[in-house]
């Protein structure tokens, strides 16, 4: 049986661990709340965007806009959204599994330090990595989005896809591969958007002809890139919410484990102490008996 001193030392170290994980849990919880709020705040915007696209879809014949035209895919463009820091449970590892499944030629664009380390380690073709702080401002994501769109238009990549942990709820984050560009034919795309945006995205009852200024084609030209930026932003927000949720859960588990371990150790310590006392009494008694 371990000596009481050794057990005491273990207890102390486990207590420290518990304190740290508890603090990290609280921090993650508050960040999670903010991230979830941000993700929710973006929802009306997505809905409105979907409605506008719906209004357009009925009035613009299949256009030759590069965002809508599917071309043979030679190189895929993949945006990997990971965390900057670890200790978020299996969140990043699950994303990396998805990346490992990609066998076709692809170029990678990364948000988050963990992801860029992974891509570098596995010697994949990384074009750029971007930093997005916990505040996740639109302008930060926009830089990444516009860069990818530019490469897409130049023909460096033929698709834009995003790998990110989709936020379902605090306990469930699903690693997801989501194609963003090309959009496919406009109408299918709009009905799909309406469905995912949730809520009322149908073209309203007003059947009078819509007036486009300057022109339908021009509005489309401007609205689509805008939509892509916005869509990518929403995905990043979702990833942030996932990150903090995953971290909070991981830290909670660690804290609970520490508490349990502490209970076991305390029990063992008391047993050892009791054994030592009993031993001592026995010895004294034996000595007296002999005298």
């Amino acid at each position: 049986m371990a000596s009481t001193r050794e057990i005491r030392r273990r207890i102390k170290s486990v207590k420290n661990t518990r304190q740290i994980t508890k603090a990290m849990e609280l921090v993650a919880a508050s960040k999670m709340k903010k991230a979830q709020q941000l993700a929710l705040a973006g929802r009306p915007y997505s809905q409105l965007m979907a409605r506008m696209l719906a209004a357009l879809a009925d009035r613009v014949e299949e256009s030759q806009h590069p965002f809508l035209v599917e071309r043979p895919v030679k190189t895929r463009g993949i945006l990997l959204v990971t965390t900057d820091k670890g200790l978020a449970g299996p969140l990043n590892a699950n994303l990396f599994k998805l990346v490992m499944d990609i066998k076709t030629p692809a170029k990678y664009y990364v948000i988050g330090r963990k992801g860029s380390q992974f891509i570098a380690r596995t010697k994949r073709d990384m074009v750029a990595d971007f930093q997005v702080t916990d505040r996740a401002a639109f302008s930060e994501v926009k830089v990444a989005a516009e860069f990818m769109v530019k490469q897409y238009l130049e023909g460096v990549i033929d698709t834009i896809e995003v790998i990110y942990p989709r936020f379902t709820n605090t306990l469930v984050q699903e690693p997801t591969l989501r194609p963003v560009l090309p959009l496919g034919s406009l109408k299918d795309f709009v009905s799909q958007t309406s469905a995912t945006a949730g809520g009322d995205a149908r073209v309203a009852a007003d059947t009078r002809e819509i007036l486009f200024e300057p022109s339908a084609a021009q509005v489309l030209e401007a609205l689509l890139p805008f939509y892509v930026n916005r869509h990518l932003y929403q995905l990043v927000l979702s990833a942030k919410a996932s990150e903090h949720s995953a971290r909070m859960v991981a830290m909670k588990t660690a804290k609970d484990n520490a508490t349990k371990l502490l209970g076991d150790l305390t029990l063992e310590y008391n047993k050892a102490r009791q054994a030592a006392i009993t031993q001592e009494i026995l010895e004294i008694a034996a000595a007296q008996f002999a005298a």
């Binding site: 973006g42 009306p44 915007y45 409105l48 409605r51 007003d206 009078r208 300057p214 509005v219």
Partner: protein
């Protein structure tokens, strides 16, 4: 019948109210919307947005986006939008100075960054114009 105006940015819903009339800055000039306007979808430019309700007029600064008029609902998607009261003149001025400074110094920064700074300067300019209108 009053109009319903809704201004939404990626970060929040900035404005949502029933109003009498709104004047929107678009890429083709200002457009005034009254109840009964025909459906319209247009691009919003950097500029001042004017909302009239009763005999009160409120000013907002908006940067690029889209506006949709449909029935009696006016929806505006903007990258940024801020109501006059919320504009912090000093902060905006400082931000504008910083952006202008960066524009002057950096001759060969990448065009996107350049565009971003320019739009920042324009948006700041609009905010200041809105804020100072009162005086």
């Amino acid at each position: 019948m009053p109009l319903t105006l809704e201004i939404v940015t990626p970060e929040a819903r900035v404005y949502s109210d029933t109003i009498d009339t709104v004047v929107i800055p678009t890429v083709e000039g200002e457009v005034g919307i009254l109840p009964g306007h025909i459906p319209l979808l247009t691009q919003v430019a950097h500029g001042e947005l004017r909302v009239t309700k009763g005999n009160q007029t409120q000013w907002l600064a908006v940067s690029g986006g889209f506006a949709e008029v449909e029935g009696d609902r006016v929806s505006i998607l903007a990258e940024h939008a801020i109501t006059e009261e919320k504009i912090d003149e000093n902060a905006v001025e400082a931000a504008m100075m910083r952006a202008e400074q960066e524009l002057r110094v950096a001759k060969n920064i990448d065009p996107q960054q350049y565009e971003h700074l320019q739009s920042l300067v324009r948006y700041s300019g609009v905010q200041l114009a809105v804020k100072r209108r009162r005086r």
